[in-house]
Amino acid sequence: MITALIVMAGLALVLGATLGAASVLFRTQGDPLVDKIDAILPQTQCGQCGYPGCKPYATAIAGGEADINQCPPGGDEGVRKLADLLGREYKPLNAEHGIEKPKSVAVIDEATCIGCTLCIQACPVDAIVGAAKQMHTIVADLCTGCELCVPPCPADCIDMVPVAETVENWKWRYPVFELKVQPATLPAKEAA
């Protein structure tokens, strides 16, 4: 009995020491966690997560202050990727921070723009050009669709326009997968 205990304890000690040594010897020097999280975030810098930009949100996630489901532009896929990266449970997007929308860009109605520069100050990614009392315009390729320029506009001349599908960015659809019997039988299952 005692021998068995000693043997088990000894084994535990030896194995534990080996594991400890291995973790020190073979430590992987990866990217810092914050950068990895930041790489997943969509970089809209919209602040919907409650932090002033994607990097601060990434820092907050890494520090355990923020949850992984606060980024509506990243969407469901973004949450899944974060869950994968951090080894956490997937959870649906937190509706408090907004809902996932199709990617849009801001467009200034050039007729109503009064040239107040407020949107320029609001844009986190320098996507708006213009000068005081001059018409402003948004460089569509640079716009992340964060909507931060919409509330400050006194003339209410900024609209969010969903990005149109073009021949260049059109995607082939997922092939129809018809192995399953079509939903005709599914309500029965739900009823049961």
Partner: protein
């Protein structure tokens, strides 16, 4: 003489069905009432329109200029008026629209005066620019700008120039008919290409199911009498006409995906491209027409010589579309794309228009699970494991799909052709590829947004620092002027404003006001290039110094 032919793995032998459309010679199709000429018909940048609505254009007039070097020009195929420049439906699987110049022909077909260009004397670079501005792109289907490929690269020469007349896909006969009709001019074009590439030999290759074309080319080669030019007949096996497969058959060289074949000493062009080069250089004719096979479920299948921009419906009307047609296809039955819109125009990539009926191409049987039988792997000409690609594409496991070399897939359709489970394998690859591309686009956009965001933050920080520095400088300047006041003996013990609460409050308020004023002024100049920013900063600096000087002088008076 080419003594030995190589072979590629895999491939299939579908029923060629080529005789349908080779019975009649090529017919020149009358102009339609309206031509819709898409600006973007090739790989690379979208050309800028050079004409305006209402302009009169002449045949051969450039209506779209190449946007950068990786682009190509587009031209008016006849004379007439520009009635619109607007998005029109494209011959694309999406059926989406893209900018096009709409021309109403005036029936005169007056040609623009030709710019004199002596290609014999011109340097290769000039010829390349000329071909770019003549809109010559690969007519085999990839529509890659030809001038970019007519560059021998660093070594300055090429071993083999392959002229591809294999045309392996069933039903398509446009190259076949072209080789029968104009073998000499094709070879002349090939010889120009040979000169530009400094190629040691030219191999004009075609499949052994086109004996008439082979005979015509051989006779033409004989009459041209070039020792380095050879017509090679290769065994018929789909996809022997794929550029990589044909290069492999002729030279034994395998050009991997993503690398240029010139790095391996080979370059490959379609026969119609060779002819387009000849016409552009010798006759000054830009690429405005091409041969299109109209076949399948039509009354009179044949090849038409059509102006680019002709609505597809016009061709089907000429060939007599049968009423039971259920689907229109651009290209052949193996790789063709569905055409959602019959009014889309013929573009430079349109080699074949195929009408499908349930009797001709039966709708596929329902998809069954993959049983990993390996038929697809045996049929794959790219030596891939198609079922593994399918597995990972279906599971949206794109990283793994790329590890299995998804992008080496040429989408030839051999795997789906042989699949006993009737899985639309290629659809899964197309899906996976376009998802991966979309993700890469998103990632690039995110990276650039992050960069701009960080730059903006850095700029904001710098502005704050500068303001703080200025404030400090002011504060430092204040005690220096105080003694000149002569009224406060306490000046020595109170060197900074910090000791005087009232003063400090006023200072702060003033700083706030200044900061606000400056912020408004500065924010106008957002989104500038770093160089402009630097200039502005310098000016700002000078202004500050000036105001500081006047500021420190003022109390002294």
């Amino acid at each position: 003489m080419l003594s030995k032919l190589f072979s590629f793995n895999g491939g299939v032998k579908p029923d060629p069905n080529k005789s349908l459309s080779t019975r009649e010679p090529i017919a020149r199709l009358a102009l339609p009432p309206q031509l819709v000429i898409p600006l973007h018909q090739h790989i690379g940048g979208t050309p800028r329109p050079l004409v305006h609505v209402g302009d009169k254009v002449l045949r051969g007039q450039r209506i779209g200029a190449a946007d950068g070097n990786v682009s190509s020009a587009v031209h008016a195929p006849t004379s007439g008026h520009v009635v619109a420049i607007e998005p029109r439906p494209m011959p694309h699987a999406s059926g989406l629209s893209s900018p096009a110049v709409v021309i109403e022909p005036d029936g005169l077909d007056a040609a623009i005066e030709r710019e004199p260009f002596d290609w014999h004397a011109a340097a290769p670079g000039e010829i390349r620019d000329f071909l770019r501005d003549a809109g010559v792109v690969g007519l085999g289907g990839a529509v890659f700008p030809s001038h970019l490929k007519l560059n021998p690269g660093k070594s300055g020469h090429t071993d083999t120039l392959v002229i591809n007349g294999a045309e392996c896909e069933p039903f398509i006969t446009c190259d076949d008919m072209l080789m029968r009709a104009e073998p000499e001019n094709i070879l002349r074009g090939a010889l120009i290409m040979q000169r530009m590439l400094a190629a040691k030999q030219v191999l004009v290759a075609l499949e052994d199911n086109k004996p008439e074309a082979a005979a015509a080319l051989k006779a033409a080669a004989q009459s041209l009498g070039h020792a380095s030019l050879e017509v090679v007949v290769v065994p018929t096996r789909y996809p022997a006409g794929g550029a990589k497969q044909l290069i492999r058959v002729l030279t034994g060289i395998e050009v991997p995906h993503g690398s240029r074949s010139t790095d391996y000493g080979v370059q490959c062009f379609n026969v119609a491209t060779a002819l387009a080069v000849w016409r552009a250089l010798e006759h000054g004719e830009p690429l405005t027409r091409r041969i299109v096979t109209v076949t399948g479920n039509v009354e009179r299948p044949r090849n038409f010589d059509v102006a680019i921009g002709t609505p597809i419906s016009h061709l089907f009307a000429a060939a007599g579309l049968k009423p039971d047609t259920d689907k229109l296809i651009m290209g052949g039955p193996m790789m063709g794309i569905p055409l959602p819109n019959i009014d889309a125009p013929v573009v430079k990539a349109t080699n074949c228009l195929l009408a499908s009926s349930p009797a001709l191409f039966a709708p596929p049987e329902p998809e069954l699970p993959c049983i990993r039988c390996g038929e697809c792997a045996r049929a794959c000409p790219a030596d891939l494991q198609p079922f593994e690609l399918y597995w990972h594409s279906r599971a949206r496991n794109f990283g793994r799909a790329q590890e299995y070399k998804l992008f080496d897939c040429i989408e030839c359709g051999c795997c789906a052709y042989v699949c006993p489970s009737h899985i639309p394998l290629v659809d899964y690859y197309r899906y996976a590829k376009s998802e991966i591309w979309a993700r890469e686009r998103d990632k690039d956009a995110a990276d650039s947004a992050r960069e701009r965001f960080e730059f903006r933050n850095w700029r904001a920080d710098r502005e704050k620092e500068e303001k703080a520095a200025k404030l400090a400088a002011r504060n430092a300047a204040k005690p220096a002027v105080k003694p000149t006041d002569g009224s406060a003996p306490a000046a020595d013990v109170a060197p900074s404003a910090g000791d005087d609460p009232m003063k400090a409050l006023i200072e702060a308020a003033m700083a706030r006001a200044r900061a606000q004023k400056e912020a408004v002024a500065a924010k106008n100049t957002d989104a500038l290039t770093p160089a402009q920013q630097a200039q502005i900063d310098a000016a700002e600096e000078r202004r500050k110094r000036a105001s500081e000087l006047s500021g420190s002088n003022a109390p002294a008076e």
